[in-house]
Symmetry: C2
Subunit: 246 residues, 2 copies
DNA sequence: CGCCAGCTTGAGGTGCGTCAAGAGGAGTGG
DNA sequence: CCACTCCTCTTGACGCACCTCAAGCTGGCG
């Protein structure tokens, strides 16, 4: 989906219509949103927002992947969120951004200037409620991730990340096969390390280890086949069969 | 504040009136809440909710401290949230609880049955908005904590936790002194370890180390004096002067 | 007084980080 | 077509921060 294609897109035909912050809106509410929305695209590697910056827009990821990261003075960085299509960026009622948002692949966002959006939210409970729901989902995902960061081994961390990415992929592309899944790994080893609280060397080693024990097959460095999801989930140390994650 | 004292408490006199989910309510809205609320108390060590249980109430912590924890099959546990007075428990719109909630000290909660609360929320935007705001704050705190868990050293982790607890204390008891702060550590070494993704031995060692270098003074095992907050925050590795945290 | 939960401290092991060298693949230019 | 560069990724050797196991201390309470 390219930007020119999207510029003329009606909300009713939007690919994230049923999952995004607008998913609960009636047609008249959608028309209101339609009048204040605009699309923006970002190239892979480009920053979308810097931590501390004044935020003058909010919006949804339409296509592509972006990351939320925090950085310490000495350069240590930790990814604190992965933004996939339909995920919301920005916090109504807040001035500055709390984290760096960076496009990992090419990204298209559906944006609203902040003030008009906040005004609209006040008189449109469907939006406010959906946003609350999405925020609660993100909170769950963040807490799930705290267990990964705090208590899992490197191998379990890698398995957890792969399981989440694989399942996201399944749920989007209705690749329904319960056993085997194949997907593109859209993160570099370094990005994976930043997400997992590891170094990129450790990520590489554990990927090799999982490959060696047959849990995953690397069709290329960035394309992963999971012959048996059950096995992967077991490696992740999860009792839940991996549902969760907003 | 004991339970008998609280049972007859008017919302307008409530100690968490200005911070809890009801803080934005007008007097008539408060009266509505008053009619459906009830108090419950839990002894230190008691579970408040088990993960997976049906949740039939939501509520606010009035006094005491509770913890949100996740546990893996093999017993590894990670604390994913610390509930202090005014914090909200439960998620409107969800069936089951996602985490174990345990009272760390004696706890008194102001509860609402879930269904009536959800109904009231639909017609009371002040509550819904405040809840969104509080959820965003929690999300920020969770993400802040992801950096702690993923990238900080044991010493920095301890310092981060102490800094948060100290600052919470200051903001409640208007202990305004910018330099020196003293507070009760209401967590065991083990609970601290669960929060920080460490073992209790490492917590103990790093507490001793911080004591030895004069960053903290232990008036007793559970009472901590911070002679200079600046120093503590520096040890935590934070560039932010510790504002944050809802 | 003895008991027990919570805490401290030590000695030794290990998982992951650090540092360093090199392999693979994509793009550019001759 | 090769030569060259740049970037990502892999692999190895080594060290350290933190975990594990174990012993002993402290203070509150019967």
């Amino acid at each position: 989906m390219t930007l020119p294609q999207l510029q003329s897109l009606q909300c009713s035909d939007c690919p994230i219509r049923h999952r995004a912050v607008c998913s609960r809106c009636e047609t008249d509410e959608l028309q209101m949103l339609d009048t204040i929305k605009y699309y923006r695209s970002f190239e892979a590697g480009q920053p979308i927002i810097w931590s501390g910056d004044q935020m003058n827009f909010v919006g949804s990821v339409v296509t592509g992947i972006a990351t939320l990261t925090q950085t310490m003075e000495d350069g240590r960085t930790q990814m604190v969120g992965l933004l996939l299509p339909s995920d919301f960026v920005g916090r109504p009622g807040r001035e500055g951004a709390a984290y760096d948002v960076v496009a990992t692949t090419d990204v298209v966002m559906c944006c609203f200037r902040k003030k008009p959006f906040e005004d609209l939210m006040l008189e449109t409970p469907h939006i406010a409620h959906r946003l609350l729901e999405m925020t609660l989902d993100e909170l769950d995902a963040a807490r799930e991730w705290m267990l990964v960061l705090g208590r899992k081994t490197a191998r379990e961390k890698i398995a957890s990340l792969l399981a989440i990415l694989a399942q996201r992929d399944v749920s989007l592309s209705k690749n329904a096969a319960s056993g085997e899944v194949t997907f593109d790994l859209k993160l570099t080893r370094e990005a994976m390390a930043d997400y997992l609280g590891l170094t990129l060397e450790t990520v590489s080693r554990q990927m090799s280890a999982l490959k060696k024990s047959g849990v995953i097959v690397l069709e290329s460095k960035r394309r992963v086949k999971v012959p048996d999801m059950r096995l992967l989930i077991e490696e992740a140390g999860d009792d839940t069969d991996g549902g969760v994650v907003g």
